[in-house]
Amino acid sequence: MSCACKNPFNHDLATENTPMVNVQIDGEWVQVPKGMNIVAAAERFSKFIPHYCYHPKLSVVGNCRMCLVEMGTPKMDANRQPILAADGKPEIGWMPRPQIGCATQVSEGMGIRTNSPLVQECRKGVMEFLLINHPLDCPICDQAGECKLQEYSFEHGQSNSRFIEEKVTKPKNVDIGERIVLDDERCIMCSRCIRFSKEFAQDDVLGFTQRGSHTTLAVYPGKRLDNNYSLNTVDICPVGALTSKDFRFKMRVWFLKETKSICTGCSTGCNVLIGSRESEVHRLTPRENEEVNSLWMCDQGRLGFHEIHDENRLTTPLIHGVKSDWNTAITQLAHQLQGFKPEQIAIIASARMTNEELFLLSGLRKALGGESILCDIISRTGVADGILRSADLNPNTHGAQLLGIANSGKLEEIRSGVTKGSIQALLIFNETPGEAGISLESLKKTALVVNLGMRLNGLAHYNLPSSSFAEKRGTMINGKGRLQRLNRALSAPGQSRDDWEIIRDLKAAVGGGNGIHTVEEAFKAMANVVPAFKDLTIHKVGDLGIDLTLSNSLV
């Protein structure tokens, strides 16, 4: 399986069947794929060549000059054969001038010096040039802590400044898009954002105006940087020139705990880092996974986390609108449910739930009467953008189908059953009746309405607070059949509990315990009965997921 998106370039990945060449890096002979650029090749051997403008997924422009290295090619004899040194390796004729690593492709017998005195001097020079007109407002800059200017200054810069002239001034606090603010004084003109917008987002709205030291990044007159991938420019901006309106001035990045998880905004399942501090999520950033989202994610998915901190979020179990406790709620609800015939019960679940939750839900359904209980999900369809966003806006449709929760056409039957009054007990998991197309009048007539989720349902007899995607662990299967993992970044607020725990307890109260005490055990129980998960564990899913179409022949 390949990445959902198509990168214009993949400089860091060698294509299949690329021959290897022998290259000397800092005196050591190693083998690297022919034609790879020096920065990417050296990185394979833990030789980090600092760079600003180079980005492995964008075109190479070579403008920052930070990756200058010494480079040489084999000395040739009269017959155009390499002259060999005593060790049998080619003698290298070093070029007098430093070369940029990003645009220089490795070839047989090439020599590279990544840290020679000349190279160090070049870096020191470039660092000084980049800083002379930089505002040095690090104390209030959002990039502080993850700024390449800071990082490389620390490693390659100097402590004193020789610059006593007046600095160039440029526009600050420029509103260039719905979600982006630009500070031109901080910009180092690396052009990553310009190339990203043009080459990846297909929205060529950024460019430079003016000349020389007065060069200014700007949006094309009358245009805005408003595309659904605009916030990726903030990620790839090596400095604090482009900042996210959503995140800026909110949190110092070094306080953020980063939790590896996935975005649940659509069935692509972009891999993300959840940046949280204590009980609050501050941002999502894309996490590299070449099989899914490469290094990117859409703005919609990135900003979807705010519902977690909705001030009206349901955080206490409610019975008939009155605050209760979990023990009472589960016991009473189980008792009430047992008073209905299976045909009178219906379940509306969500393909936003994890496999573990859906698996346990199918157990609850069995305990309450099995197949006679109508059960379905609410499908959500948007428009695939040809980049990352999928048409299926549910993150785990595959899982819901696999676990028997999604049953095509059943939602319609549930809807008419509720309207007719044949369904008297309606259990709604992480969805709303409105989205299911059930009218308030019908709902009012229904004897028992149970709502599990983050939002209050005023007509539900039971409101059971559960966890957001950032507060729980579990797995989902994306639109391409890749099993991926969510991880818990923070605790659920108030008395909210993980969905799987609530469902397990309800099932236990209805039909006896099942010995499941952890998500791992829920997965294990699921793997025992669902062939697609055979021999898998949550641990085996790993940070980058598993392609079930390959390993377990999921169709």
Partner: protein
């Protein structure tokens, strides 16, 4: 007694009654070389150019035949483009302008022959925005040539088609850098391209093989074919063949343009015999020999260099400034360059800090801003040189200035890095004492 000029390129320029229309050009034998060229095999023409030893007249002095040789029309699936670089912007250089204004058909004929030789069907003439009159003249010349079937479809019945488009720049020095020019021609900012991989011969205009030649170079093609490459090579010196148009400006009695065989005269002869010496009886202080980006030469300097003799042997020579022959190799050997042929002469009353501040201001204004060292360094150098000129600096500033230049040269995308730092490096090194004295003048007051 003045040394006689050898006028090839400027043969008709300024001669009485010579006008820039096609009738006058034809009367003087114009387009006869084109008629000859179209009877030749293209490979023959290229061989003649290679044999001639002609080197590019734009500034870098790259052998034209070798440049053409990088294009292999038989291997190309893409069209080959030829671009005439008429973005003459190097301060102190005003030769191409004369050709364009006074003998445009010489350029058009040279271009057509060069295009024919390289199987080019579409050529561009990129003229700087500050030459509006020149652009009009060239447009008219192209129309005249088209009317006479020297240009357009089925040229002179050969079946060969060629179109030339005149494209005006918008006022940027960097458009004279060939890959910046190509970007500009494609409608983008004139950001020079990285080389590798974007060598014009391989990935030039519209990612197709492209030849970029200077105005004077293309005019020379006519004379190479007229005389034959071997005869052309007899002009000048080995590896420095043909003639060169020198543009002399500054403190001489008779500034202007002069055409000589390459290396046929020395700097001293040029200034004292051809140009009538230094104005107002003053003494020579310094010379910039090849456009403002060339390293300055100081009066009284002596140069110990190796010089190639006619028989190929090398001998050590010790030259005074005035004895330097005006050719590519010797200019390089004495640490400067023949460049664009713009010779700028400064007399003893000139303040070197003031001259450098002027040059640095130009380069700070013209840096395209694409790559870091030049973008930031060129303006920094301007600011320091301005302070030095104004006496608001210290001795330390002079050292910083030199070091800033050192951090630019050799580390940029294009040769502009050298263009802006070479003057600084050479001025500050050669006139260190003057810089240090002037720097602190203001502080002392």
């Amino acid at each position: 007694m003045a040394i006689a000029e050898t006028r090839l390129i400027f043969k008709h320029i300024d001669s009485p009654g010579y006008t820039n229309d096609i009738d006058c050009y034809l009367k003087n034998g114009g387009y006869s070389t084109l008629r000859k060229a179209i009877t030749m095999k293209t490979a023959e023409i290229i061989t003649e150019v290679k044999t001639s030893g002609l080197r590019g007249r734009g500034g870098a002095g790259f052998p034209t035949g070798v440049k053409w040789g990088f294009i292999d029309p038989t291997k190309n699936t893409k069209p080959v483009y030829l671009i005439c670089n008429a973005d003459e912007s190097e301060p102190g250089t005003f030769k191409d302008r004369q050709i364009i204004h006074k003998d445009p058909h010489q350029l058009i004929e040279g271009m057509i022959i060069s295009c024919f030789a390289n199987n080019v069907k579409l050529a561009y003439l990129y003229i700087r925005g500050e030459f509006p009159e020149g652009a009009k003249i060239l447009e008219r010349a192209c129309n005249e040539a088209r009317a006479k079937n020297f240009l357009g479809k089925n040229i002179l019945g050969t079946g060969y088609d060629l179109e030339i488009y005149i494209h005006r720049g918008a006022g940027a020095y960097i458009c004279g850098e060939e890959t910046g020019l190509i970007e500009s021609l494609e409608g983008k900012r004139a950001y020079p391209r990285i080389k590798p991989p974007y060598f014009p011969a391989v990935l030039g205009l519209y990612m197709s093989p492209t030849i970029v030649n200077n105005v004077e170079t293309l005019c020379n093609i006519i004379h190479v074919l007229q005389m034959g490459g071997a005869n052309f090579a007899k002009l000048g010196k080995p590896n420095n063949t043909g003639t060169r148009v020198l543009c002399v400006s500054g403190d001489v009695v008779k500034p202007g343009y002069y055409e000589f065989e390459v290396g046929a005269l020395t700097l001293g002869q040029l200034i004292y015999e051809v140009c009538g010496g230094i104005k107002n009886g003053k003494k020579l202080k310094a010379i910039i020999p090849g456009g403002s980006s060339a390293k300055v030469l100081k009066a009284g300097e002596r140069y110990k260099i190796k010089q190639k003799q006619a028989d190929g042997t090398m001998i050590d020579v010790d030259l005074a400034l005035e004895d330097i022959p005006m050719d590519f190799d010797t200019m390089a050997a004495v640490g400067s360059m023949a460049g664009s042929g713009g010779v700028i002469v400064m007399d003893e009353t000139r303040s070197m800090p003031e001259c450098l501040a002027n040059i640095s201001e130009f380069y700070a204004h013209e840096s395209c801003g694409q790559c870091t060292p030049c973008r930031e360094g060129s303006l920094w150098m301007k600011k320091i040189t301005t302070r030095i000129r104004d006496g608001k600096a210290t001795v330390e500033d002079v050292g910083v200035l030199k070091n800033v230049a050192d951090n630019i040269a050799g580390r940029t995308i294009c040769a502009f890095g050298e263009a802006c730092s070479w003057p600084v490096q050479s001025f500050v090194t050669k006139f260190k004492e003057e810089f240090e004295t002037v720097a602190g003048n203001g502080a002392k007051k």
